[in-house]
């Protein structure tokens, strides 16, 4: 019996160690731009960053274990995504669809500040919407704010079971909440 307990303990210890080794350190997306950009410029000299999205669930501080960086090349009319985790590119692939999005502005706020802005806006009754769990954070330009297509925005997507998702759009330059809707 004692041997069985010892064996079970060793197995559990091994499983815990493997799990710890797989755990990546969550980071804000700005920290992964440099490595993604280095790869994108090797792929195409005119590659421009057009989209950032979390690949793992974002935490309460707007950090995630993995982020995707999508680059578009006008000369080849192709887009290529780099998924970054722990400061390394975990995956790279060409996007299997045409996505000639405009490049995001250079001075975008990081995801944590966008999340703080959304939390602060909850105090304003007009923008108060019951939300669910934060599922996605997307940085893009021209696609989420039709009124100001040149504006780079963060879009935060909240979801809850049995209810439509809640979308909150934040100006990535001023950290101002622009729109909130359910859809």
């Amino acid at each position: 019996m004692t041997r069985m307990r010892l064996l079970a303990g060793l197995v559990l210890l091994g499983v815990a160690r493997v799990a710890a080794a797989d755990d990546a350190v969550p980071f804000a997306p700005r920290a992964g731009v440099a490595i993604a950009r280095a790869a994108a410029l090797s792929w195409s000299p005119d590659a421009a960053l057009v989209w950032i999205e979390n690949d793992e669930t974002p935490g309460p501080l707007g950090v995630a274990e993995r982020w995707s960086y999508l680059y578009y090349s006008a000369t080849t009319d192709q887009a290529r995504v780099y998924s970054v985790r722990d400061g390394r590119i975990l995956a790279a692939e060409n996007l299997d669809m045409k996505f000639d999005a405009p490049p995001v502005a250079d001075d975008w706020i990081d995801s944590g500040r966008a999340l703080t802005a959304v939390a602060a806006a909850q105090g304003e009754a007009s923008k108060q919407v019951p939300r669910g769990a934060l599922r996605a954070m997307v940085l893009a330009r021209g696609t989420m704010d039709a009124a100001e297509p040149d504006r780079t925005t963060w879009t935060l997507v909240y979801s809850s079971p049995g209810a439509p998702s809640v979308f909150v759009v934040v100006d990535a330059a001023s950290a101002k909440v622009l729109r909130t809707w359910r859809g």
Binding site: A39, W43, E53, D55, R66, T76, V81, L90, A91
Partner: protein
């Protein structure tokens, strides 16, 4: 092709290193062939030209393609692709109606024109000075020696200015090493050296390398062939190698991670072909060279 076999290694070392670094510093000329099949002609040179000078890491050559876990990316974008595509179409239509503002021009591009003009003027003045110097030599008037000295001083200043221009270009280009890979080939199997090699990258770029009889003889004599030099992504990736020999092909897959913003060498050794299999090694070159005017 620069074949240098037959010279003493010690004598050719400085020349080869100069040629080698000259090639590396010409980074803007490099281009990663995007997802294409390319025929390349290898460059043969002496073995010591590619002396690593750094620890060589042995690369395991797998006999079967390694399988990597698939990591899903861009879930939100893919789930909403139709909506996003429609928004981009709308955005494009809006922009075509209202032309956008021009992009800001990088001031360095303007400064390069000034650099070219300065270099041209410097060459002209040096050329004119040479003509004047020739005439003065004919006259052999001692009183004009001071003028000659002044001309030499002026040429010195032109050289200084040229050094400044080269330093500017060095900072903008050679000083910013992008992630790059050089694939080298060495060794020869017990049987005949293969005539054709195929190298495939993960992004579907395929290189077909044909070795001439002269190049195979050079490999037999201990030379090294540079098969490819281009930009690569700084991430773990698999490079596939296929060697045709005697109607059969031997395949190998190498997993390597080129260091970011550095030049990585991948050396393929055909010595074990047909016996123990292909061998490979890699090392990183510390790019700390700079241009000089003199």
């Amino acid at each position: 092709m620069a074949r240098v076999t037959g010279m003493r290694p010690a004598a050719i070392r400085p020349v080869l290193f100069l040629l080698l670094f000259g090639t590396f510093l010409a980074a803007p000329a490099l281009a990663k062939a995007p997802a294409a099949t390319t025929a390349v002609a290898p460059q043969i040179t002496a073995t010591n030209a590619f002396d690593p000078g750094a620890p060589v890491t042995e690369i395991k050559v797998d006999r079967v393609r390694p399988v990597h876990e698939k990591h899903p990316t861009l879930r939100f974008l893919r789930e909403n692709r139709d909506f996003l595509r429609a928004r981009l179409d709308l955005l494009r239509a809006t922009r075509s109606e209202h032309p956008g503002t021009p992009d800001v021009l990088d001031p360095r591009w303007l400064s390069y024109q000034a650099i070219l003009s300065g270099a041209g003027a410097g060459s002209d003045s040096v050329g004119a000075a040479s003509d004047r110097e020739a005439r003065r030599t004919l006259l052999e008037h001692i009183g004009q020696l001071s003028d000659l000295e002044a001309e030499l001083d002026r040429m010195d200043r032109v050289l200084d200015a040229q050094a400044g221009r080269l330093a500017t270009l060095d900072a903008d280009f050679a000083g910013h090493q992008q992630t790059a890979l050089v694939i080298l080939l060495q060794g020869h199997p017990a049987a005949a050296t293969p005539a054709v090699l195929t190298i495939a990258f993960e992004d579907s770029t395929v290189l077909h390398v044909t070795l001439t009889q002269e190049q195979r003889d050079a490999l037999l004599g201990g030379g090294i062939a540079e098969l490819w030099h281009g930009f690569v992504e700084p991430r773990e990736q698999v490079v596939a190698l296929s060697v045709e020999q005697g109607g059969a092909s031997e395949n190998g897959w190498m997993t390597l991670t080129p260091a970011r913003d550095q030049l990585t060498f991948l050396r393929l050794d055909l010595g074990g072909l047909g016996a123990g299999g292909l061998r490979a090694g890699s090392w990183v070159l510390a790019a700390n060279t700079s241009l000089s005017a003199r």
